[in-house]
């Protein structure tokens, strides 16, 4: 028994329990302020350095004649969907410039939508009949024969199909569309021997069509789209511009406005953005840090004043609840 005596088994390990004396509290709050405020300021300034151009084009790209009936316009295959808009760059954007499309009120996180895909089918050629989770976009009837759709499911079926072309000073700016998807998705989740088949072949056409000669692992727009967004407002990477854009540049954006966001009241935007060490523009983090830091600083100052102006001895038992109210219950 005594042989396995140890301070651990006897629960006698050295322990330290902080007693929150005024000095300690003031010191800790001051330290928090000293750390948080600079971090917050740094994050905020980094976020501010991001140059971001956001351009919502869903209403502007509807011709005046269709203003009242945008759905008819977008659903009609014969209308001219090309839409040219001008954007001015306020300050210099350094390469790489990320080009995003941003959708709003689009529920990529709806359970029916999220589940409507077949990872097996996307990965392996042999599993092209594995479409049980894809209904109703699972089979297509061709010559009275049921053929599986590759890639099946609602997600792939509703692939975003607007396209952008950007010209700067009448010169085409190249939008690099390679390496916009996660490398792991390309190498493992989407098969290099799986080719689109029967995709958007009949019935209701959802979104973009795919080049049946390119394996899925090279269909980067699809891969990006298939990684469903968590919130109804989301950005997805469209491509990267690898040249700088100077301040006061007027760029021309040629948009093929194909995607039907009008039916469900969604919005579409084009976003050009640079990135810093905290990523894209996000002021929240910096502000949160600064707010917490300044609250700590205020508390520290307040306590300091109290401590100097109206000190009281520690551990004074007269402040205990039962001493404050003698004889009374509670």
């Amino acid at each position: 028994m005594n042989s396995n005596y140890s301070r651990f088994t006897q629960q006698e390990l050295p322990a330290w329990q902080p007693i929150l004396t005024p000095r300690w509290v003031i010191t800790i709050f001051t330290l928090i302020a000293l750390v948080f405020i600079p971090v917050g300021l740094a994050a905020f300034s980094a976020s501010q350095r991001v140059v971001e151009v956001e351009y919502e084009y869903d209403t502007e790209c509807i011709p005046d004649s269709y203003k009242d009936n945008a759905t008819a316009y977008i659903k009609d295959d014969n209308t001219n969907k090309t839409c040219t808009q001008k954007l001015s760059i306020k300050s210099k954007m350094q390469a790489p410039i990320f080009v995003y499309y941003q959708l709003d009120n689009f529920y990529q996180n709806h359970r029916r939508y999220v589940k409507s895909r077949s990872d097996e089918q996307l990965r392996t050629k042999d599993k092209e009949n594995d479409v049980s989770s894809c209904s109703p976009e699972d089979y297509v009837t061709i010559n009275n024969k049921s053929e599986p759709i590759v890639p099946c499911g609602l997600i792939a079926w509703s692939l975003f199909n607007d396209t952008y072309k950007i010209q700067n000073k009448d010169k085409e700016v190249v939008i690099n569309k390679t390496n916009i998807a996660w490398a792991s998705d390309r190498t493992t989740k989407f098969g290099s021997d799986v080719y689109p088949k029967n995709f958007q072949a009949s019935g209701l056409i959802g979104g973009a069509k795919l080049d049946p000669t390119k394996p899925l692992s090279e269909q980067e727009d699809l891969i990006v789209w298939m990684r469903t967004a968590a919130l109804p407002k989301f950005r997805k990477l469209y491509g990267k511009i690898e040249t700088d854009l100077e301040a006061n540049d007027e760029i021309v954006v040629v948009i093929e406005n194909n995607y039907n966001t009008y039916e469900f009241g969604g919005k579409k935007s084009l976003v050009l953005s640079t990135a810093t060490w905290i990523g894209g523009r996000n002021n929240f983090l910096g502000i949160a840090y600064v707010v917490i830091g300044s609250m700590s600083l205020l508390l520290a100052l307040g306590f300091l004043l109290l401590y100097i102006l109206k000190p009281r001895p520690l551990g004074d038992p007269t402040y205990l609840s039962w001493n404050k109210n003698p004889g009374g219950l509670r």
Binding site: N2, Y5, F106, N109, S158, E263, F264, W322, R330
Partner: protein
């Protein structure tokens, strides 16, 4: 060996005048035989006769191999949360599930499997115990007078068994004969009632001659008796033997689990086997105990279920609205969801059913409100906590190599919540050994020993500073305790006084009185000496430990009693004249035995000079009035000393003697003989009257003081527990006087406390008892008890305003039986709660359990029962927490306890330190658990707002299921196992302070014994 055995072949029954005289008649109770409840017929020694009674194997396990799986699964899924997760697991297989089925089922399997494995291991331990007991061997008659060993489990009702010395009886036996001619035998009932003194049993005269194996070749008898029941102290039956009917009483019944002592062998016929035996009838099924926290937790879980249903309901309604919106007159809104070609779960055309299905989905999704691993984590934490309890060196009893042992880990945190402790006395508070410590002879007090109570009092008087030091430096006081233990001494003798020891008494002024005093001690008893033939040492087998203490101390002083025959006692005496040891023989004429109404015992002896004297010892209440006018020389002084001894918690007896002349004795003897041989029902009264006449005109010699040795640190521990606001009740099988004495010595009773004594010894009830009319007795008794209780309650109320006097309630077993009646028990409980201490004496095991139950259900507070004997088993099982003292004998209590400790005073550390820690840890852990799961669950719900309530989880499947059981459980478990809010050394002091403040009327105080955080939390739900 042989010689000794022969020498000991004496008719021991002769020295008992009272104990064995109560032979039953065939009238009265025995007329019920054959009627309802008395239907058992046992054909002894007849192999052929088929008897439909159960066999002698016992089973204490919860499960059998077959029933384990269904039964333990059932147990598991009786928990709401587990059942919920089972339903979820099944639902997860359908398309409703927001996540994959495996991720829902695996955690459930892990949790249930782990708990079942734990259950299985625990039951396996019980199983091995059973196997050991069932396979013990005993000699059984196989026919033709041949006895062979067989396993206990093979015994059948009616078998004749031969039990040898120091063995346990395998079943309830009818004593037929023993190695003594008159079929007496001694049994030790340690396992039944915790008392180590020997009890005498005697078989019927008709069978007493069956002393050889061969006698049983043609033995045939039929026993008709009562059906199996739990009453240890009653037995009604009759024996038909050689065409005669003889009545049977408890005196002939040897109970299973008691032990044959001092008797070489006995023959017995098996009456009750296995589960029919009285001991096992007395044991109730081990109830599965759950701690209060767990029950409260259940309430919170129900609350969370409500929350869950509410949220799921809200979610499904909103989902229904969102879904209905999808199709607007056949036009799709969110076309990418294809609402025109949907499944039932999302179909805008069938919104109602979609919403109902979604409700089920939501139940699964928000299931994270219910912490699946909570039960398991709690169990794990409790096991780890009990490992800490088991390893605590402060609760390790080095001498017996016994650490504390938490047998069921369910109740750790309950230890910090104890409100009432119900304690056994013998073996728990006391070591059940008496020590002769002081005496007053001829008005002079001898003996310098210090009793535990005096030590405790000294400490109380001592300055507060030293007091605190005692609390603070525990290791130091441990040392003291240990060192006082190590002192080698003679058992039963703790007397030091140079004036008397080593023959110095000869020089004392009243040497002749001293001589007579110790002679009384050496002669006036019923003990039997046992001489070790190699060393010449004498040891004694006495009926009670006090008696042994007297004989031993007489021996130590120089009056060595060494031989008893049927008619004489031999004593080696120190002769003051020659200065040598001289052997003196006293002819034993009569023994007037001790019983509780007489409260005294006398022997009449004739010494070698032919003088006849009556030597008497008895309680002060009966002795002083019997003194002769010329025998009161030392009365005042002695009285004063007796008072002092009583204050010091000692048991006192007054010693006196009287010389008788020949004629007087003859007259007495004739009357006595006549009375003894009378066959009328009032034989006992007659004997008493005769004895009464002779035990008068006594000459006072002095008083003895015997310490019923308390276990180490008992008064101190009781005091600390009392200061922590814990009430202590003592439930004992002992006599009332003894119980009161112990009450004083362990600080439960104090001088100045008003004692309320409820008993049924009133003359009118005793008169009724002689009449034998059962209805009348019970009616009168009930009324008497009710009257006493209500009077006491009135007294209490009356004194409440006037003085701060504390009351103590003392109640005896008989009254308790009525007080525990449904009609009266609430009154009784109310009275008992208002008293500072409660002592129940003469209580049977069943009564102990009933009292425990009453306190538990009546006060709704946590009760803790502590005991060491099999008689405490019921109580231990009934209480919220049962603590077994792992003493030297009798494992029954330990086997049925929840936590076993080696010494009573470890209770202090167990409750105040471990109890506090465990309770705090457990409560913060549970709060932490709910906190983390509720936050997690809410994030899921809030996310649904952004996912149009479609039921898509915010997190990945495996992250979801592992969050509870893996990712977030370790820090919580660490908190539950290691957290200490206050260090151990401060806890005693703190708890005292807390409770003191609360007794001052402050109510609960934050950070004290109960965790304020949890209180707030729980009170907001409960």
């Amino acid at each position: 060996m042989r010689g000794r055995r022969r020498m000991r072949k004496i008719r021991l029954s002769k020295i008992y005048s009272f104990a064995l005289c109560g032979k039953g008649t065939l009238e009265g109770e025995h007329s019920q035989i054959g009627g309802q409840g008395f239907s058992r017929v046992v054909f002894c020694n007849e192999e052929g006769v088929m008897q439909n009674y159960s066999d002698n194997s016992v089973r204490s396990t919860k499960y059998t191999a077959v029933s384990f799986l269904p039964k333990s699964l059932f147990e598991q899924f009786r928990r709401v949360a587990n059942f919920y997760f089972l339903v979820i697991g099944v639902l997860a297989m359908t398309k409703l599930a927001p996540y994959t089925a495996v991720s829902a089922i695996v955690p459930l399997c892990v949790i249930v499997g782990a708990t079942m494995i734990k259950e299985g291991i625990e039951d396996w331990r019980r199983k091995t115990q059973d196997i050991e007991v069932n396979n013990r061997k005993v000699k059984v008659h196989k026919g033709d007078g041949v006895f062979e060993y067989t396993e206990w489990k093979n015994l059948r009702v009616g078998n004749i068994v031969k039990v040898e010395k120091d063995n346990f009886f395998p079943a309830d036996l009818l004593l037929l004969s023993s190695s003594y001619e008159d079929a007496v035998c001694y049994v030790e009932t340690m396992n039944l009632d915790g008392e180590t003194n020997l009890k005498l049993k005697q078989g019927l005269d008709v069978t007493s001659s069956l002393q050889d194996d061969s006698n049983f070749r043609d033995f045939k008898a039929v026993v008709k008796c009562e059906d199996p029941n739990a009453n240890l102290y009653s037995f009604i039956g009759s024996l038909e033997f050689e065409e005669q009917k003889y009545p049977l009483s408890p005196q002939q019944l040897l109970l299973r689990d008691s032990k044959l002592r001092n008797t070489d062998y006995v023959f017995g016929a098996i009456i009750f086997t296995g589960h029919d035996t009285k001991v096992i009838q007395n044991s109730t099924d081990p109830p599965s105990k759950r701690s209060k926290i767990e029950r409260k937790m259940d309430r919170i879980i129900y609350f969370l279920f409500c929350l869950l249903f509410l949220i799921a309901f809200v979610g499904s309604i909103l989902f229904g609205i969102a879904t209905k919106d999808e199709l607007d007159n056949g036009v799709m809104k969110r076309w990418y969801l294809r609402p025109d070609d949907s499944t039932i779960f999302f179909d805008p055309k069938r919104v109602a059913s979609a919403a109902i299905f979604h409700f089920l989905t939501a139940l699964m999704l928000y299931g994270f409100f219910i912490p699946i691993s909570l039960y398991f984590s709690i169990e794990l934490v409790k096991v780890l906590q009990s490992i800490f309890i088991n390893q605590d060196v402060h609760m390790y009893y080095e001498e017996a190599d016994k650490p504390a042992h938490a047998r069921t880990s369910n109740l750790n945190e309950e230890l910090g919540q104890v409100d009432t402790i119900l304690s056994d006395k013998t073996g728990t508070l006391t070591c059940n050994s008496m020590e002769f410590i002081k005496c007053s002879i001829a008005g002079v007090a001898y003996g310098q020993g210090v009793t535990e109570v005096e030590q405790a009092m000294d400490r109380k008087i001592g300055s507060p500073l030293t007091h605190e030091q005692v609390y603070g430096t525990e290791s130091e006081s441990d040392e003291n305790r240990k060192s006082s233990d190590r002192k080698t001494r003679i058992k039963g003798f703790n007397f030091t006084d140079e004036r008397i020891m080593n023959g110095n008494w000869v020089n004392e002024p009243h040497a002749d009185v001293i001589q007579k005093f110790f002679r009384v001690l050496a002669i006036c008893h019923t003990a039997i000496p046992e001489v070790d033939e190699d060393t010449g040492n004498v040891s004694y087998e006495a009926e009670s430990p006090d008696e042994a203490a007297f004989v031993i101390s007489a021996k130590e002083i120089g009056f060595e009693f060494f031989k008893r025959t049927q008619t004489s006692l031999s004593v080696n005496e120190w002769d003051p004249v020659s200065g040598n040891k001289v052997e003196r023989m006293y002819q034993l004429l009569n023994v007037l035995e001790f019983n509780s109404s007489r409260k005294r015992m006398s022997v009449i002896v004739k010494d070698e000079e032919g003088r006849i004297s009556l030597l008497c010892k008895g309680a002060d209440s009966v002795m002083f009035e019997r003194l002769a006018l010329n025998g009161r020389e030392f009365e005042d002084k002695t009285l004063e000393h007796v008072q002092q001894y009583a204050d010091a918690g000692l048991r006192t007896l007054i010693l006196a003697y009287r010389e008788l002349d020949e004629n007087e004795y003859k007259e007495f003897n004739n009357a006595f003989y006549e009375a003894k041989n009378s066959v009328t029902a009032d034989q006992e009264t007659l004997i008493e009257e005769v004895s009464n006449k002779i035990e008068r005109n006594l000459i006072l010699l002095g008083a003895t003081a015997v310490e019923d040795k308390l276990q180490n640190g008992v008064p101190d521990c009781i005091e600390k527990l009392a200061r922590a606001g814990i009430k202590i009740w003592v439930l004992t099988g002992d006599k009332m006087e003894t119980a009161i004495n112990i009450g004083f010595s362990c600080c439960l009773l104090r001088q100045g406390m008003r004692q309320i004594i409820i008993h049924l010894d009133a003359p009118e009830i005793q008169a009724l008892e002689k009449g034998g009319d059962k209805m009348a007795i019970s009616k009168a008794s009930r009324e008497s008890v009710l009257r006493q209780i209500s009077e006491a309650a009135l007294q209490l109320t009356a004194s409440r305003g006037a003085s701060q006097q504390a009351f103590a309630l003392i109640i005896d077993g008989k009254s308790l039986a009525y007080a525990l009646d449904d009609s009266m028990k609430n009154l009784f409980l109310e009275l008992a709660i208002r008293c500072a201490s409660v002592i129940c004496c003469r209580s049977s095991p069943k009564q102990k359990a009933l009292v425990t139950k009453l306190v538990k259900s009546g006060t709704r507070k946590t009760t803790l029962a502590i005991g060491d004997g099999a008689n405490d088993v019921g109580m231990l099982q009934e209480a919220d927490i049962g603590i077994g003292i792992s003493g030297f004998e009798g494992m029954q209590a330990v086997m049925s306890s929840d936590i076993a400790i080696a010494q009573f005073w470890y209770l202090e550390r167990l409750l105040l330190v471990h109890g506090h820690w465990c309770y705090r840890r457990m409560s913060s852990m549970i709060c932490y658990f709910f906190y983390k799961n509720i936050t997690f669950g809410f994030t899921l719900f809030l996310y649904e707002v952004y996912a149009s309530f479609s039921g898509e989880p915010a997190y990945n499947d495996w992250f979801l299921s592992l969050y509870s059981i893996l990712f977030s459980s370790l820090p919580v478990i660490a908190l539950g196992v290691f957290d200490q809010d206050v260090s151990a050394s401060f806890l005693n002091y703190t708890n005292k302070e807390c409770k003191m403040s609360s007794s001052a009327g402050a109510g609960s105080s934050a950070g004290c014994s109960t965790d304020s955080l949890v209180r707030q939390w729980f009170s907001s739900f409960a």
